[in-house]
């Protein structure tokens, strides 16, 4: 081999390296720009609600730049919005495999699991999202709030209360969050705390209609029907044409009229109210029996109560208490057979709750 040959080969190699590097850089740049354009456009489409079209663009962005985590997460989000749950999961899995503590990926997976109906997994992913890694301070409270909303929907009052108390204790929450906290406390079965939260809101703004309404609900849950009526009247004064508030006011009045527990109530009135409560309990049980086709199973309880009711003499306090015991017993039977919640306009659950206290 002649030196001239060696030198020319070296020169060719160096020249080719330069050309290749230039072309490779050019390609990378163009691909980066193309992917970014697709991602931007996909995001706009997603914001406009066109999830299917957004998926196509996000997919292109992801294919062009597979290592870009943001694009992959964007694609997973678009797939989730488009209802392609299995595809969304297959995008999220590698992200979580790469970093199981990633807050955003865990949150997306939690939302996916909610859609899939896997409540247990969803709760686990929400917890990982709350305690996971986020860029900067991270939206831990927002995620916890989403978890709380999920727990409220899933019917987990104890867990819900725990999460809401954590949110309440840890934040300098804005008005909207404070309202949510108060509402969730009520759902979690903590009406006293909820009422306190609403009162705090009203101290800040006495013209807050939602807070008055919420306070009324909390008062109703505590058995304070007349206080609830007052709160609802305040709310109605602020927003006169609100049919919902008017409806709740009517409901509170109904509760007040049916409530057999006030101390100053005459024995006869107490007996009359107790009888009405018992009639409501019987009616609820019959509806439940018909809905579930379990009348044959429930009828003996009804017959038994009616028989015992006939044996009662007098309209004194003792008889009223017996009637209320019957009502509670029938309510328990109803609850064992029909797990579906009663409508919000049914006064019986609140009354039974108060009686049992």
């Amino acid at each position: 081999m002649k030196p001239g040959f060696v030198l020319s080969v070296l020169a060719v190699v160096l020249g080719l390296i330069a050309v290749d590097q230039f072309l490779a850089r050019l390609e990378r740049l163009e691909i980066l720009n193309e992917a970014a354009a697709h991602y931007r456009e996909g995001k706009q489409l997603l914001d406009r609600g066109d999830a299917a079209a957004a998926v196509r663009l996000m997919e292109r962005a992801h294919v062009l730049q597979r290592n870009n985590r943001e694009y992959q997460m964007g694609l997973a989000g678009a797939l989730l919005a488009a209802g392609r749950l299995a595809d969304a999961e297959s995008q999220l899995r590698p992200v979580l495999n790469a970093d199981s503590n990633a807050g955003d990926a865990n949150l997306a997976m939690a939302r996916l699991q909610v859609k899939l109906g896997n409540d247990r997994e969803a709760e686990a992913y929400y917890h990982r999202a709350v305690y996971g890694k986020w860029p900067g301070a991270g939206p831990a409270d927002e995620v916890r709030m989403e978890l709380a909303e999920f727990l409220a929907d899933a019917g987990e009052p104890e867990k819900l209360l725990a999460e809401v108390l954590l949110i309440q204790s840890g934040s300098k929450a804005d008005l909207d969050t404070q309202r949510k906290i108060a509402r969730l406390l009520l759902v979690a079965g903590a009406p006293a705390r909820a009422a306190e939260s609403y009162r705090r809101l009203l101290r800040g703004d006495a013209g807050d209609v939602e807070a008055w309404s919420g306070l009324a609900e909390a008062q109703m849950a505590q058995g304070g029907y007349s206080e609830a009526q007052e709160s609802l009247q305040r709310a109605l004064k602020l927003r006169g044409a609100d049919a919902q508030i008017a409806g709740r006011l009517q409901f509170a009045a109904q509760l007040s009229e049916l409530d057999p527990t006030p101390r100053r109530l005459a024995s006869k009135d107490k007996f009359e109210r107790s009888k009405k409560v018992l009639e409501l309990a019987k009616e609820d049980l019959r509806i439940c029996g018909h809905l579930k086709g379990a009348m044959a199973k429930l009828q003996p309880a009804l017959d038994d109560v009616e028989l015992k009711e006939k044996q009662l003499h007098g309209m004194d306090n003792v008889s009223a208490e017996v009637l209320l015991d019957f009502a509670q017993s029938l309510w328990r039977s109803r609850q064992q057979t029909c797990t579906t919640p009663v409508p919000e306009t049914d006064p019986l659950p609140l009354l039974i709750h108060k009686i049992s206290q």
Partner: protein, 568 residues
């Protein structure tokens, strides 16, 4: 410093012993690096050109106009300036090895690079791997000649360039080595194997250095859901084999038709391919170009079965017309495309019928790629290894082998001549075919083994001195049952009276084993000026099994009676 390097190189290259082998070794690295860099440039340039010809959101008319213009331009360039750069590049590379003593001109390399990058970027439905092979082979040829090598030494470096090119084009270094040996040389035990491996590895490193560790396809993890799937893979092998035969037969018959057109239309013929692919691309853009993006989508199970099935037909037609009309580009890429679509179709149908026991259609598309490659290119081993390298998943091997071998068998039964061999025949060139190689390999020493006439070691040579024999004659010398030497006729004439055969015999002598090819026996006879060789056992080289004689070898090759008065 350069002077001292030059002096060292001169000193080193002046030593005759092993000079050629050392040059080849160094050139293997150099070829690997240069070819790797050129092929990477080829891939990148083609991609960037294509991005400019088909910008995102571009108008539909581009899909018709650009391939027509591309084919027109390259057709004219190929006819006028680069006739050697036409076609795939694989047959042309084999011509270089078997006909032109390894000669490929620099002009052909440049022409191939220029025409193919233009043609492929314009959307012609052909692949970049075949052209890369010819470019790699051409670079190897040019470098070998410029470094002072000649004849067989240049020829030996052609597969070295091929493997470097394929390693960079496919990102599959092992498959590149196998392809060079299995298809280009037709011999998996070729002595250049070491150089081929070196260049492949070097080129692959260059590819990784510049483009990073990006596989050709991003393949989801392969999964065998149930053993019933083996049956589906067998069906895929049959369907893939039939599709391969349809493609090969269509391409070959169209090529004959185009070759029958007047010679003055040669420059215009590629435009027919360009126009067809343009019209198909107007309705279905997936047909344009090599289509690896869509292969990846099928692998991800992200295409509708109707589209996939339609693409099988359209791509077969588009590629056959583009190739046969004389456009520059290969059929490797389209083979993978067709295979992926066939696999995707079979997989989608199987999954729709038996969702519980079959994997996602993407898994079938993956196997389908190897299936079509085995059926069209007819390199079953390369196709298995190539797909294995792409997936890096061992569990894919068995389904892949089943499907590939069935496809290979179906293709072999229905179209005896492999595509590259048939294309060469159409050019009027006869390349060594599979049957020829099998026949050559079948003839070995055991086929012409004869009983040996031996001499005892203690026998006095006086009486033998009086006999006249061919100077190239010789006899095995035995001590009891042991072969101890070889007595040449020339030695008998030289020795003094009273000398025994044991004393006069050569103790270091040439011999062969029964399984040695006859060509080796011939070579040894020539090197040692003998017309016979002792045949000894592999287990014990002192055990004489017989002899092999020159006339018997010639007779086995069909040259009987060529040598009169042969040895005794």
């Amino acid at each position: 410093m350069l002077n001292s390097i030059g002096r060292w190189l001169r000193r080193w290259s002046d030593g005759e012993e092993g000079k050629s082998a050392q040059t080849q070794l160094i050139l293997s690295f150099v070829i690997g690096a240069v070819v790797g860099l050129v092929v990477v440039a080829f891939i990148l340039l083609t991609g960037r050109l294509a991005a400019r010809m088909y910008p995102p959101g571009g108008a539909a008319w581009r899909r018709v106009l650009v391939p027509v213009l591309g084919a027109l331009t390259t057709g004219w360039l190929l006819a006028k300036y680069f006739p050697g750069a036409r076609g795939s590049g694989i047959p042309q590379t084999k011509f270089a090895i078997f006909i032109h003593d390894g000669y490929i001109s620099l002009k052909t390399v440049l022409g191939k690079f220029l025409c193919c990058s233009t043609s492929l970027a314009s959307g012609i439905a052909l692949g970049r791997e075949g052209p890369s092979v010819q470019i790699g082979a051409g670079i190897a040829s040019v470098l070998a000649r410029r470094s002072g090598l000649q004849g067989d030494d240049v020829k030996a470096l052609i597969p070295v360039g091929c493997s470097a090119a394929l390693a960079a084009a496919f990102n599959t270094p092992i498959a590149a080595v196998l392809f060079s040996l299995e298809e280009i040389l037709g011999d998996l035990h070729a002595p250049v194997m070491g150089s081929v491996v070196i260049s492949s590895a070097t080129s692959w490193m260059v590819l990784h250095m510049i483009l990073g560790d990006e596989p050709l396809f991003h393949v989801p993890a392969y999964q065998l859901v149930s053993p019933i799937e083996f049956l589906v893979y067998a069906v895929l092998g049959v369907v893939g084999g039939l599709a391969s035969v349809a493609f090969v037969k269509l391409l070959l018959s169209l090529r004959i038709w185009f070759r029958g057109l007047p010679a003055k239309t040669v420059w215009l013929q590629p435009t027919v391919g360009g126009l067809l692919v343009g019209l198909l691309g107007w309705y279905m853009p997936e047909v344009l170009g090599v289509g690896y993006d869509y292969v990846e989508r099928v692998l991800g199970g992200d295409m509708a079965v109707r589209t996939i099935a339609l693409l099988v037909v359209l791509k077969i037609v588009a590629t056959a017309v583009c190739y046969s009309s004389g456009n520059a580009g290969g059929i490797f890429g389209p083979s993978l495309f067709i295979g992926a679509m066939v696999g995707g179709t079979v997989g989608s149908l199987a999954h729709a019928l038996m969702p519980g026991v079959t994997a996602n259609p993407g898994a079938y598309a993956l196997i389908g790629m190897g299936t079509a490659f085995a059926g069209i290119v007819r390199t079953p081993l390369t196709s298995v290894i190539m797909i294995f390298e792409m997936t890096r998943d061992y569990s894919i091997i068995v389904p892949l082998m089943i499907s590939n071998l069935i496809s290979f068998f179906v293709s072999y039964r229905l179209q005896r001549q492999p595509i590259y061999e048939a294309l060469a025949h159409q050019e009027g060139v006869s390349l060594p075919g599979d049957e020829e190689r099998v026949h050559q390999a079948r003839l070995d020493v055991s086929d012409v083994l004869e009983q040996a006439e031996t001499v005892a070691a203690e026998e006095l040579l006086d009486s033998r001195k009086m006999q006249q024999a061919d100077a190239a004659a010789a006899w095995p010398v035995m001590q009891g049952e042991r072969l101890v030497g070889l007595l040449r006729e020339a030695m008998i004439r030289k020795v003094a009276d009273g000398t025994t055969a044991g004393v006069a015999a050569e103790r270091q002598f040439p011999f062969v084993h029964p399984d040695h090819p006859l060509s080796l026996a011939l070579e040894k006879m020539g090197d040692n000026n003998l017309n016979m060789l002792p045949v000894v056992s592999r287990a014990n080289v002192s055990q004489l099994l017989g002899v092999v004689r020159l006339p018997a070898i010639l007779k086995a090759f069909g040259v009987s009676g060529a040598l009169q008065g042969g040895p005794r």
